[in-house]
Subunit: 479 residues, 2 copies
Amino acid sequence: MIHLYNTLSKKKEPFEPLHPPFVGMYVCGPTVYDDPHLGHAKSYVSFDVIVRFLRASGYKVRYVQNITDVGHLLGDTDEGEDRIIKKARLEKLEPMEIAQKYEVRYFNDMDLLNNMRPDISCRASGYIPEMTGLVQSLLDKGFAYQAGGNVYFDISKFGDYGKLSGRKVVDLLEGVRVDVAEGKRHAADFALWKKADPDHIMQWPSPWGQGYPGWHLECSVMSMKYLGESIDIHGGGLDNQFPHHECEIAQSEAATGKPFVRYWLHNNMVTIDGQKMSKSLGNFKSLPDLFGAYGPMTVRFFILQGHYRSPQDFSDQALEAARKGFLRLSQIVQDIGKPVDASASPVTEPGPVWKAHRERFFAFMEDDFNTAGAISVLFDMARDAQKCMQDAAAEDLVHAGRLFDELGSSILGLKFEPAAGQADTETENALVVLLLELRRKFRQEKDWASSDAIRDRLLEIGIAIEDGKDKTTWRKVTG
Amino acid sequence: MIHLYNTLSKKKEPFEPLHPPFVGMYVCGPTVYDDPHLGHAKSYVSFDVIVRFLRASGYKVRYVQNITDVGHLLGDTDEGEDRIIKKARLEKLEPMEIAQKYEVRYFNDMDLLNNMRPDISCRASGYIPEMTGLVQSLLDKGFAYQAGGNVYFDISKFGDYGKLSGRKVVDLLEGVRVDVAEGKRHAADFALWKKADPDHIMQWPSPWGQGYPGWHLECSVMSMKYLGESIDIHGGGLDNQFPHHECEIAQSEAATGKPFVRYWLHNNMVTIDGQKMSKSLGNFKSLPDLFGAYGPMTVRFFILQGHYRSPQDFSDQALEAARKGFLRLSQIVQDIGKPVDASASPVTEPGPVWKAHRERFFAFMEDDFNTAGAISVLFDMARDAQKCMQDAAAEDLVHAGRLFDELGSSILGLKFEPAAGQADTETENALVVLLLELRRKFRQEKDWASSDAIRDRLLEIGIAIEDGKDKTTWRKVTG
């Protein structure tokens, strides 16, 4: 039984989907106006592993993620310029060219992190009729009002407003009225539909005139369209808990009269050397830069070494440590694969050692997706696998290999490679084997100079060799 | 000056965009309900090279391609089941999951073919308000009529109907009235909006009740939204000339009163061993299968060896021949790159030989994108480059390398690789260099046995070496 921390109830709860084995899961996707950064990696790796684990536990998950290509204003408020339109102005492109360009980059980086694609990736701009439909329904039911071509949600009409973030409607209503748009009844009311100036570059017709949707609207509409009025899991970053997710709840539940989301899951933020990551502080880590320095699998491994609900501090030392740890693990998984034929069906059932590892792994993951604990099990497995190699316990190694496949590759989504993020080729392997044979020949002839020269040249090329009792092993090292 | 064959005028015309240097180009994209096949490769490689060449000629192209995820009915007619809904029923998935799955596969295969992504890739389902807007405008102007919840375009009202495909309205109007939907005035009238049964799985509200758009509507709406009411180039497969493109012209020009498209470009079809490719004939070539057998670059090269307006016959022999030709060309490009430092700036201007090759290449491409002629120039360049290698003409080789980069890689989009579809690595290179050094040492010591052993082992690994006068060269060979 999986237990997960529900931000709505603020406690760990047993996971009981509405219609098992089906699970509807919605995760807030990116606003596509810039390169993805470390914060995106943290969020989408976390939810990717959650989807993978739910599937491994027998659930049939429909995973929906949106692409925000309209309506997300600077500062996340109801005022300011649309983020994509601003970028379009700077790059002198049509807004949809900006959205297209950065959507492609987003998925490219997510693919490199080995995140599975969502089952449905939906663009906000593609759901205008559904959004105006929801706005109309809120107007009809008295939860919204028109003012100067805009439509606002009246938070005073929805008693539950604040239940996710813990804010009290009464406090919000009494808040200082700063920068309140014309005609807004309360400062905390939020825009469902915004009037567009004639020269606004993205706009659509609506019963309230030409305009564009408020940012919060899209997630309610798209999640309910594909997952029903009550969905099992809604994920997103902690920074979106308020106002974004609070507003989603208000507009959805006011419209349907039903609970919108059973389990709210929020991933925590990343910091850089203890500071908030931001462009103005000059410590912004875009994924293309980060991948260039460490490779995407090291970034994934680093993220999984933390807990999705914990803040995670990024530093070069921490990434370097993650790189080494992952390399060590990868090397052992490679070594397991080499001596035995992993496709051979072992006669025996997995022994108690492997069964115990698998149980501990699942126990960690069932406890609110404790990936850090799960990774510690992989290291324990590696230690036991090394013992089996020393004892040449071939069948045990087949079981070990299969368990790394299931737990490490399928569930945690790790790609074990000789060098993190660097593809090996069969030709490379064959060439190294040939060089090691030549070196052995030199050693037999006591031509130590030639033997050492090969070792040194290989190290320059990035291949470290180690002479063991019976055989010489090698592994790739990175700069 | 580029000349292109305009299907509308049925002759080659000089290319004069409306607002040079800007070019608006729209190409009909795939209906995403199955794996891409050889026909898709032919179409999208052809138009990719056209975009690349226009850009190389100084034009600023905005390249729009749609994704059909709604409304494309079986048989391309107004009746029958929606292709995506049918597939969703078979695979027991939500229609948007089908569209998502095959859109991802489509772009994956296009990426492997090294087609550039369109600047805007737009999904039909995302433009319902724009589509109902166009339908309303056609109703207002008397070009369309309602019948039983459907809206049809009345071809008798649009005198130019048939101007692209050469069909005569009077013939179409007198056509046998077979399977005419209830309320349709003429059999050849086409649906702009279709009424949806209550259980139809994809439907939207409209002024004419719940329904979904006719297939043709999306391309008019999305091309005009992003490229204006008159666009420079509209591309697509010859099989879409009628009715799809004919209907696009009718509904667009009736609504705007302006010419819809200046240049219509149609790529011809592929046949398999002389027969139409079809699933029922069992000769269907999906791209994943084809790439497995030949590698995507061979498929690209094969397509470019034909002309986009000519039918192209696929056979294993033809693909095998293309593979060998491309391998030979790639090997020479590799060889050019190795002996000299291609980044070194040569003192001289390119000699007349290279200037002449470049001019011939451009002349072929400016003549309706004659890629077959352009490839023949690459082979001529390869022949001259080989002479330069024999003469050790280093500067000429730099010019040759740069010209292959410009013409072969940038314009034709070919990725020259040692073995088609097989990636080399720097590590591999370094390992081979080390082995050749050891072999040289053995030869100096007259240890012919060891020297020959290295040569033989390398050949087993797939690396052939050749001892020249001054140096030993090597290349990868495939089984």
